[in-house]
Symmetry: C2
Amino acid sequence: MLAKELKAKLQDIVGAENVEDDNASLLAYSYDATARFQAMPDAMVAPRNKTEVAAIVKLCNDHRIPIIARGSGTNLCAGTTPASGGIVLTFKHMNRILEIDEENLTMTVEPGVFTKDIFDTAQEIGLFYPPDPGSMHISQIGGNISENSGGLRGLKYGVTRDYVLGLEVVLPNGEIIRTGGKLAKDVAGYDLTRLFVGSEGTLGVITEAILKLIPQPETKKTMLALYHNLDAAAETVSAIIANRIIPATLEFLDQATVKVVEDFAKIGLPTEAKAVLLIEQDGAPEVVERDAEKIVKLCKENHAFDVQIAKTDEQAEQLMTARRSALSALSRLKPTTILEDATVPRSQIPKMVKAITEIAEKYQVTICTFGHAGDGNLHPTCLTDARNTEEIALVEKAFAEIFEKAVALGGTITGEHGVGMMKLPYLHLKAGEAGIAAMQNIKKALDPNGIMNPGKMLAIAEKEKAGDLQ
Amino acid sequence: MLAKELKAKLQDIVGAENVEDDNASLLAYSYDATARFQAMPDAMVAPRNKTEVAAIVKLCNDHRIPIIARGSGTNLCAGTTPASGGIVLTFKHMNRILEIDEENLTMTVEPGVFTKDIFDTAQEIGLFYPPDPGSMHISQIGGNISENSGGLRGLKYGVTRDYVLGLEVVLPNGEIIRTGGKLAKDVAGYDLTRLFVGSEGTLGVITEAILKLIPQPETKKTMLALYHNLDAAAETVSAIIANRIIPATLEFLDQATVKVVEDFAKIGLPTEAKAVLLIEQDGAPEVVERDAEKIVKLCKENHAFDVQIAKTDEQAEQLMTARRSALSALSRLKPTTILEDATVPRSQIPKMVKAITEIAEKYQVTICTFGHAGDGNLHPTCLTDARNTEEIALVEKAFAEIFEKAVALGGTITGEHGVGMMKLPYLHLKAGEAGIAAMQNIKKALDPNGIMNPGKMLAIAEKEKAGDLQ
């Protein structure tokens, strides 16, 4: 609980109506979209501008109070659970699109803007903001930047990082800095912009961002290819890339996922297929037409037993929406859904999917797999029950093996979800002890008192390390 | 000079033939492509692999000896002059392309590979490595990464940073870390890859890099638009972007530059034009055709008095080569050429070019301007004589004002050249004192003994700050 004096100071800064510390209110900020992590904050504070953010940060730094900047809490790495209590910052007052600059193709936003509103606002003027994390309808851009969110368009268009040109950040010492700008080129000092992107709120509080927009693709085409086995689907992915085609979306779903999604969305998905590829290409009409023809041909050559092309925009949208609903659909089946994002080089997908299947069998746990085949970012998803401690222990062992396998195949423990508390025990697999030490030194250099989102990403793991679980 | 004992240890590590410390040899490493900066190193050491690099770094860290990793020294920011002596590391033995991975579209290289060889090797198999700094024929990829080099294709394709997927780095403590991988998505910890890109050798020694390749554009078209005044050229740039066309190259040359380049290249450039745009679009044939038509129309609507389309590949290549020769051509005119890279948001180019002209007149110095109009990255180039101390003082004042103006217009002091020693006095204009402090803390965290390229980027400026020169 917050000391009275501190609460009064916070109220002075942001107004009494913007500080909440009753249990009922705080409960809403005690968890995020990640299963099995919960901790109560001491207060929720909603600043109205960067000056207030700076004043809050200074106060917290002086009193060593943790600060957890939080968007909609849609992250899947326990990135915004208040592990050590402290103050949750929300951005309901800092939610404006400040500027759309059509000459420089930028949009300047506050952290509380919903990702979908950025996409829609750009679209209205023929521009395109490509990053599309699954939660984009409700996620906020501040959270997307902090987690470097990915999405379905990563292969062709990259991730959030690739669309952040500049930031305004309140550092842990309360100083406000601006990085980057409306600039395609800027090498004045270290690339702080990209250091803050994906830093999970551990280095400062983002108060403004300049986003890059690009011209909207003129048209698109959506296809569904059905396979009797996974290897054929994977070989199709390789064949498409080998033919120098980079689709906008290249998604993979296994049979279990397709069945669940169809049961949820009821749009006639082919539940008889062992593996499905959902492919979308966008761009100039001639190019899309030609690429689509080539893609269909490559699917068939690689033993797709059926290839369907969406006939209308509605049908295409239905397919994409169905894919986006995979997590929601899967969560209905069991009390606890653990969605992971082990990622490998594209060429290693068949090996990785095979390994996931074998590991699930070994530990007798249910794992469905879908994900972004084009960029190697898979989502093995475990359906389980957090109350069943015996099963959960097996699930943990299974995931530890999955992460080890991903790294052994040249991949990573997390492609787009982040480390948070969820992946803490596994970071050493990817970054190595020397890499973690370097990151910890950077953290200490910028946040010597450790007030920024403590217990996340680089905290000393409280659990045993993954390697010791075997 | 190197102590005997140290020299013997270095010889033990890399072999006697790979340590040089005679004056004649060292002279070659005492300067880079930047005018007016020179300092002698104590030795040149050429390691043969990462283990040797790590051993050298450990030795130097123990003895507090500066290390300057150096490619071909083509940088324009005095980034590789051995300001405090020490050891220059060269990569003549670490110059192999280690792997081309056509499935994952990556190339893995050692730091000593020439940029042009990367481009050519990719091209041979239908792939494309877009970053093309002016010096790419002789520059090495290690240097490109350390400087985050740009080039003519920045607008559409980005810069070196956008094509570095992973690195192997020897940290100042001698530990070897690997960052990133053959992965489009990776959020396992801080983005060390992008922190090292553009860090000018101040945080570690890069020993390997995984580069991203993309499919080669099928075709391209090159155009030249001639104007009676600069504003019309600038308005054309805005009009092209406003029409949602992103050309691969969109270069601007003023009359002075065109005249000098024509005198050098003799290919019939229009020396009567006050301003010239060199525009190239690439991609699928239909798209290039359509874009080119639109671009020609927009040039004419914005008062180009002539628009020429290159009829053959040779003619197109001639135009691009002429543009690339601008620096060489200008350097013939006066003993000293100072090529700067003040960068502004694209929409501010007219204001910036006007300011450059006025500032040059104010101080009575000769400044030609050309550059990457599409991405706002201008190259005001001063033709002067370093021996004329009176004129040089005026040149410095002029450039200080140019940098201030660029920042005031939302731009930066350096778009693609880096800070090095050249821009040290101006970094505070862009990064601010709090930003510089944050960078210095990161530097100290990773390199507490300050052995990595000391005196560069974040060193305390020995000169007066730009603001005090007025």
